[in-house]
Point group: C2
Chain length 335, copies 2
């Protein structure tokens, strides 16, 4: 760490639901975190339209109040402006799986300057995993990204650390909560896709333009991250064979149910292929989860099958994943 006193100066880029949830958790959980990660201070917060900086530490709740009232932070401030005054960047800007921006530029800049990064943004990893890892290796900065896959469901560090020594033979998972909500409601209510989608949109579970979720784009992005980081792949988004859920009918569920199956959007990575598609899942499978839950079945050589489930999204859930990266970074460094 740069600061002579060992105090880590952190910044948050992106101050939407994820960034604000993280900021709150960094304040409210400070006592617990200091014990595991050492002392720290939120020195800066940047969003797309402005920022706020304080050498003594930003007043987080005041920043949230301003952001929620004004729609932006008060100062003209970019990540570039503060990069030489921080030790860790929490990157929480929105995902763009085509360009990776603005996260990609933020992360590159940070790593090039020896600043460690903890990100919840899938885009930069999908677009530039290999390059980012190369930069990190060169400068010794670290890039952590537990929050990009599965929300609060532990998976990346789980496999790297808890299953260290194992070879991962395959990963099969429910990685998109919106699709899982729609499919489990279709199963339970025997109603058509369009109707359940509307319901999900009303509840805020699906976006006004649901393409990103229902066409399997989000799940495919997560699958690329898992394959690259846990199975030593060198995959890009276009390597994923992808089918969405919009053409599934209530009748398909009925026919499946007669044989003891339901239908879920399954993302699967094996040595040979990456695939996101609606698949038959036995009712007694651990992957038959309901609502917005995420689940993953990791097939290994020594441990056999290990299953994890958890909340795939949400403000405090994403914060939980980022805090675990924060502790890991401070404790061990990433490898």
């Amino acid at each position: 760490m740069k600061d002579v006193k060992g105090l880590k100066r952190v910044a948050i880029a992106g101050f939407g639901v994820v960034g604000r949830g993280l900021a709150k958790a960094l304040v409210t959980k400070k006592d617990v975190l200091i014990k595991r990660a050492g002392d720290y201070r939120i020195a800066a917060i940047c969003d797309s339209k402005g920022g706020i900086y304080s050498e003594e530490g930003v007043d987080v709740f005041e920043a949230i109040r301003i952001k929620e009232k004004e729609g932006r932070l008060p100062e003209e401030l970019t990540v570039e402006d503060i990069i030489d005054r921080i030790d860790i960047l929490f990157e929480c800007t929105p995902t763009n799986v085509e360009t990776g921006e603005p996260g990609l530029s933020h992360i590159k800049l940070a790593l090039e300057n020896g600043v460690d990064v903890i990100t919840s943004n899938k885009g930069p990893l999908v677009v530039g995993y290999k390059e980012l890892m190369k930069t990190a290796k060169k400068t010794g900065a670290k890039l952590m990204y537990e929050a990009t896959v599965g929300g609060a469901m532990p998976i990346i560090k789980l496999v790297k650390n808890e299953l260290a020594g194992n070879e991962v033979l395959s990963i099969k998972g429910i990685l998109n909560g919106t699709c899982n909500y729609i499919l489990s409601r279709m199963e339970q209510e025997k109603m058509p896709y369009s109707q359940i989608l509307s319901e999900a949109q009303e509840l805020g579970i699906a976006e006004a333009d649901p393409t990103y979720d229902v066409e399997g784009i989000d799940a495919a992005a997560k699958l690329v991250i898992l394959a690259n980081s846990l199975m030593n792949s060198n995959a890009t988004f276009s390597d994923v064979e992808r089918t969405g859920i919009s053409s599934i009918t209530p009748e398909a569920f009925e026919i499946a149910a007669m044989k003891g199956y339901t239908i879920r959007l399954i993302a699967e990575a094996t040595r040979d292929e990456l695939r996101v598609s609606p698949r038959l899942v036995p009712f007694n499978s651990p992957l038959c989860v309901y609502g917005t839950l995420n689940a993953a079945l990791i097939q290994t050589d020594l441990a056999g099958e290990v299953v994890v489930m958890g909340r795939g999204a949400g403000s405090s859930e994403t914060a939980s994943a980022m805090l675990s990266d924060f502790v890991e970074l401070s404790r061990c460094g990433s490898k």
Copy 2:
């Protein structure tokens, strides 16, 4: 590490199924492990009747051959004899939850001598958790024990690290594979306890004297370890309210099934109590697992509910858990 070249000299105490499985994994997985944990050498193996030591590293497969042929290792050698010539002790002797021995003495000796310990033995932790941790703190040696609970199911480091920053509100789990096998077979076959127990004994899933498993002793020991290490408790075995499974009837399963439930032996730790008892579990609960699987539902403040499942026992499964401790120890130290 003591060795000037950074090479870690490890010893294995207890050369039964667990010790032999671990020894094999340390040899066959050496390439992968060296990258994460640094170089190492198995300098000694001790069992209850003998041992084997080699400064250049024991020939593990020869040691296994001798042990399986002779029932013991050739030299007169105890853990005491080799403690000043090793850096890490893998403690794999059988569990005794009353005395903790022989593991307790081995672990004490190691920690007092600054030797890190990785154990699969519940006994010493149930009997002497607080004292052992105190000794470890004093000498700076580390005590790791992922393999004591849940076999290959990640739980201890999962909560400490992957859920770092979270407060654990409760843990509820299936922690004994033998009981779960018996109960799931009773559910599926509608047969009485005694008959399924005999079947399990024939298959080697239950011991000739099944008390330790079916009376919930094993599950209670694991629950004490979870509560002490993950919920900041100071519990002992007698704090667990414990009921076994031997009086459950096929009729109980029938009545439960009519309401959508089955019966499982649930170990539960909350702020207020530690309990192991047969409980009604909804068929669609993640804790409704079958066969010898283990499962745990961890309730947290930030991440909400996180569920893990995995194989609760087995030679390579236990080795998997111990190897993850080995990597963690070498990478980060334990906290």
